[in-house]
């Protein structure tokens, strides 16, 4: 293996080439993404509004995963917003708990709770905690916020489906930086060992973590090869392209005998020009002026 350092910065050319190659191997419906753009924009507006109102939160890592979560909640998951505990529901587990506002926005738009409640985020007495809390928010499967734990939880949920002969599927959203955590790889090993083909991990690979670019802080690459070596089916996509996202989940559904990881190449802060690839917005709320400017861009 080369010891040469990967260039710091945006996704490498090889990553983009890999994602194109991955795409060519899956069937893509031309109409699959229609209507989703409108929803994604609404979720982005909610995220900005909620975090600005709260005065704290993590806009960057919410915005990078908007298309992924939009596809899941509005096309892929079988779920019943009026019956959050429906036993046959597909499970979405947010392992990167700091993207809670994104999940809350999607849940509200689905009807799990009123959209008006979103601006109570992070306030005393709110059901919408700073990081997800399984005990307070309808539709939230797992308490998270301490990174690296969601995939293990997902394995338990997927094993239960097998034990109960239930057909639900389990989707776990991880951050790229979150893959620094050793537990992620304990879980990666176990999920393949248990042959959990009802489990899909999605890595929101926005290339950044709090202290800087992944390549500078803790190099993750070659990320697809790592997952492959752990026994996973790997699909690489542009995580902002609805058609590629939907195709990846369709492909995962056809994989038998092993779990699938979707490595979604994304841009932190996506959709708001001054937040894109701007580490300043990892864990900082926009000022009222910045929020106004962002909402104008998202009008």
């Amino acid at each position: 293996m080369s010891t040469e350092r990967k260039p710091v910065g945006k996704p490498s050319a090889s990553a983009i080439a890999n994602s194109a190659e991955a795409l060519s191997s899956v069937v893509v419906s031309k109409t699959a993404g229609q209507g989703l753009e409108r929803i994604a924009k609404a979720l982005r507006r909610h995220i900005i509004t909620m975090i600005a109102e709260a005065g704290s939160g993590h806009p960057g890592g919410c915005l990078s995963a908007v298309e992924i979560v939009t596809c899941l909640y509005f096309r892929v998951l079988r779920h019943r917003p009026s019956e959050p505990q429906w036993v046959e529901r597909d499970r979405f587990i947010l392992s990167k708990g700091h993207a809670a506002p994104l999940l809350y926005a999607a849940l509200a738009e689905c009807g799990y709770f009123p959209v008006e409640e979103l601006t109570t985020l992070r306030k005393l007495g709110s059901r919408l905690q700073g990081h997800t809390d399984r005990t307070s928010t309808p539709g939230v499967e797992m308490s998270s916020g301490s990174l690296g734990q969601g995939l293990s939880f997902g394995i338990g949920v997927a094993l239960a489906a097998r034990l109960n002969s239930q057909g639900y599927r389990v989707y776990v959203l991880l951050g790229g930086g979150e893959c620094d955590e050793g537990q992620v790889w304990e879980a990666a090993m176990a999920a393949a060992h248990f042959k959990l083909d009802n489990l899909v991990a999605i890595v929101d690979h926005n290339q950044q973590q709090i202290d800087g670019w992944n390549a500078e802080i803790m190099n993750l690459e070659p990320l697809p090869e790592k997952w492959r070596a752990f026994g996973w089916e790997v699909v690489e996509i542009d995580g902002h392209d609805f058609r590629q996202i939907l195709a990846a989940f369709e492909k995962a559904q056809r994989v038998k005998g092993q779990p699938t990881v979707v490595i979604a190449h994304t841009i932190k802060g996506k959709g708001v020009s001054f937040m894109e690839n701007n580490l300043g917005f990892h864990g900082t709320a926009p000022t009222p002026e910045q929020a106004k400017a962002a909402l104008e861009e998202l009008a």
Binding site: D133, S152, F153, G156, A160, G182, Q183, E186
Partner: protein
């Protein structure tokens, strides 16, 4: 010293009880982290291979899997050695199990210094402090094999997270077969009004031996077995404080954060009286035979007698 008591293995009792529970309840699932032959979850694995998952040497992942299974309606038992089942995966216990109050029973074997020769790396002396610090956790330290079987059964039928600590060695039976364990209740196993000795786990038998020896010297001690460390039986402690005027706690654990600390909190708030603590002090132990280690750290009848006498001197 003391009467001869039959020895029995609490780990064996755990393994056998799990099998019995597995037959009664199809929702019981058992996890282990590559120590199933030692924790005795191997019995369940043999009987119910589809409901047993060996997670390998990865305790953090095991606790997360346990949480996911519990969130899906399963009653999950997850076992390892006490050091690995607490310190190694404390954040997983906190985030994935305690806060959401999921139905996971962490049953840890090899607690305390009586692990012996393996040395400090394998001697959990802070596990109970860690477990008691987790909101929502029920913490139980059974005294013998008879109590263990009942505790496991009660845990299986009580929703929510449990930490149950067992020892490595076979321990003297202090209960008879008709014994009935009640969660959150102390058991008075010897009457007396001069002082009270409160103990749990393997130290209960030692406390009884100390009480018998003191009796020969004219000091009659009450002995309370306090299997449930959390929630604590405050009523029994207050009554003992009122009726006997001094309390000595005995535990195979650090003095901080375990039985002694917890009993003292009840005493100072309700009925301040002289207390003494027979426990490990702020240091890790070493390799050695279990009985040598107990001797070295005064976790002996003689050590308890000395502590009782010290409290009697302070009584008004």
């Amino acid at each position: 010293m003391g009467q001869v008591r039959e020895l029995a293995s609490s780990r064996e009792a755990y393994g056998q009880t799990l099998v019995a529970l597995g037959k009664e309840n199809p929702d019981i699932v058992v996890l282990d982290a590559d120590l199933s032959k030692s924790t005795k979850t191997s019995y369940f694995a043999r009987e119910f291979p589809l409901r047993f998952f060996d997670c390998g040497i990865a305790e953090q992942n095991m606790m997360g899997i346990a949480a996911g299974l519990a969130a899906s309606g399963k009653t999950v038992f997850a076992s390892s050695f006490a050091v690995f089942a607490t310190a190694r995966c404390f954040d997983q216990l906190r985030m994935s199990i305690a806060q959401p109050r999921l139905n996971v029973k962490v049953v840890a074997t090899h607690g305390g210094i009586t692990v012996g020769e393996d040395g400090f790396s394998h001697q959990a002396i802070e596990d109970l402090a860690l477990a008691c610090s987790l909101p929502g956790f029920t913490v139980v330290v059974p005294a013998d094999a008879i109590e263990t079987a009942q505790v496991i059964r009660v845990a299986a039928g009580t929703p929510g997270p449990f930490y149950i600590r067992l020892g490595r060695q076979s321990t003297p039976l202090v209960h008879s077969n008709g014994y009935q364990f009640t969660l959150g209740k102390a058991v008075s196993i010897r009457q007396g009004f001069d002082a009270t000795i409160i103990a749990n786990g393997v130290m209960v038998a030692t406390a009884l031996d100390a009480a018998e020896s003191l009796s020969l010297q004219g000091i009659e001690c009450r002995v309370l077995n306090m299997p449930t460390l959390k929630p604590l039986d405050a009523e029994a402690i207050i009554l003992a404080a009122r009726e006997t005027g001094s309390i000595v706690t005995v535990e195979e654990h650090l003095q901080q954060g375990g039985l002694g600390s917890r009993v003292a909190q009840v005493v100072v708030q309700n009925q301040p009286i002289p207390m003494a603590f027979v426990a490990l002090h702020d240091a890790y132990a070493h390799s050695g035979k279990p009985e040598e280690l107990l001797e070295l750290h005064d976790l002996t009848p003689a050590g308890i007698e000395k502590a009782v006498r010290s409290t009697l001197l302070k009584k008004r």
